[in-house]
Amino acid sequence: MALSTVQEYIDEVRVLMQDRRVPYRYSDESIVSELNIAMLETRKMRPDLFMKYFRTPYPDFKPEEPTVEVPFEPIYRMALVYYICGKCVLRDEEENDEARAGKLLAKHARSILSTEG
C-alpha cells in the first residue's frame, strides 16, 4: 500500500517538492522531523486517527530507520505529505514562498477535516 514506510513519505515529499536529484535540497532528517511534527499537528485536529496512541506514546520516526512502518489510516496519509511539504516550503531560504506554504498547510487541514482532497 502506498505511503506505508518512512522512506515512502520521504520519496513522495521529494516528488511534490521536485527534489529528486542528489544532492537533495531537503535532507532526510528535515523531512522525517516534519513527519513527526505532522503526526502531532494531526493529532490535535483529529484525535480519532490516533486512538491506538491514547495509552501509548506517539511514534518517533528516525531518518536512519527508513523501513519503519508509519501506522496511519490509509485514506488520510496524503494529508501528512501536504503538511511536510508546507513546512519545507515555509523554512526554505532560497525559494521561500509563503503563499504556497500556506496553501499546502491549508490543504493538510482540509484533507483531515473535510471530504475534499
Binding site: M45, M51, K52, I75, I112, S114, T115
Partner: protein
C-alpha cells in the same frame, strides 16, 4: 470481518454514509448505541439462578450470558415458575438484595435485562445475540450514524443529520420497547388506561 454477516452489513451501510469515518470510531459508537438501546428497551433478557443462603439478605447475581452485563432486574420467581413473594432489588451490580431472608437454602430464578459488557481490548464488536442485529438493524444504524454525525470537526460532522438520525433512533427504541412490553403481539390489547391519568412509567412511549 465479523462472525455475523449482519454486522458486516451494518458496518458497510455506515461506511457508505459516513465518508472519512474510521472503523475504530464507528465500532466505538456502535458499542455506545447498542448499550443505550438495550438499556432503554430491555429487549435482551436472560434467566439466572440465585442461590439464597440462611441468614443472608444478599446473594450473587451472575450474568446468564458471557460478555453481557446485567442492567435491570425484571422478575424473580421460584424454580417452579410461581412468583417469589419477597421484594428484591439490585443494590450494587452483581448483587441482589432481598427484603427478608430465608429459613432454609433455596434456589430462585431471576429474569434480568442485559446490556453489552466490556468488549475487552481485542474484541471489536459487542457480544449480543444475532437476532438483535437482525430485528433492530435500522435502529442500530440510525443510532450509530446519528452519534457519528454529531462528532465535532470531522469530515462527516453534520448536526442536522445527527438530529434527524437520533430522532429516528429514538422512535425505533420506543417502538422496540412498546413491542417487547406487549409480547410482540399485533396491536396488543385494545383497551388502554386513560393516558392523562397514567403515571410516567405507564405512559405510552
Amino acid at each position: 470481518m465479523a462472525t455475523n454477516p449482519l454486522i458486516d452489513r451494518v458496518m458497510d451501510q455506515i461506511r457508505v454514509k459516513m465518508p472519512g469515518a474510521l472503523d475504530g470510531v464507528t465500532q466505538m459508537e456502535l458499542w455506545n448505541t447498542l448499550d443505550d438501546f438495550l438499556v432503554r428497551t430491555n429487549v435482551w433478557t436472560g434467566e439466572t439462578e440465585v442461590k439464597l443462603k440462611v441468614g443472608k439478605l444478599e446473594a450473587d447475581l451472575d450474568s446468564p450470558t458471557a460478555g453481557a452485563s446485567i442492567w435491570r432486574l425484571m422478575t424473580v420467581k421460584n424454580e417452579d415458575g410461581t412468583n417469589y413473594p419477597i421484594k428484591a432489588w439490585i443494590s450494587t451490580p452483581g448483587t441482589i438484595t432481598f427484603a427478608s431472608g430465608v429459613s432454609e437454602p433455596k434456589t430462585i430464578v431471576a429474569t434480568v435485562a442485559l446490556t453489552v459488557g466490556d468488549p475487552g481490548k481485542r474484541q471489536v464488536y459487542p457480544d449480543v445475540p444475532d437476532w438483535i442485529w437482525g430485528d433492530y438493524y435500522d435502529v442500530i444504524i440510525d443510532g450509530t450514524i446519528g452519534r457519528l454525525f454529531g462528532h465535532p470537526a470531522k469530515p462527516y460532522s453534520n448536526p442536522q443529520m445527527a438530529l434527524f438520525h437520533l430522532k429516528q433512533y429514538s422512535a425505533g427504541c420506543d417502538q422496540a420497547k412498546w413491542m417487547v412490553n406487549r409480547g410482540r403481539r399485533m396491536e396488543g390489547q385494545r383497551w388502554m388506561f386513560p393516558q392523562s391519568y397514567a403515571g410516567r412509567l405507564l405512559r405510552r412511549p
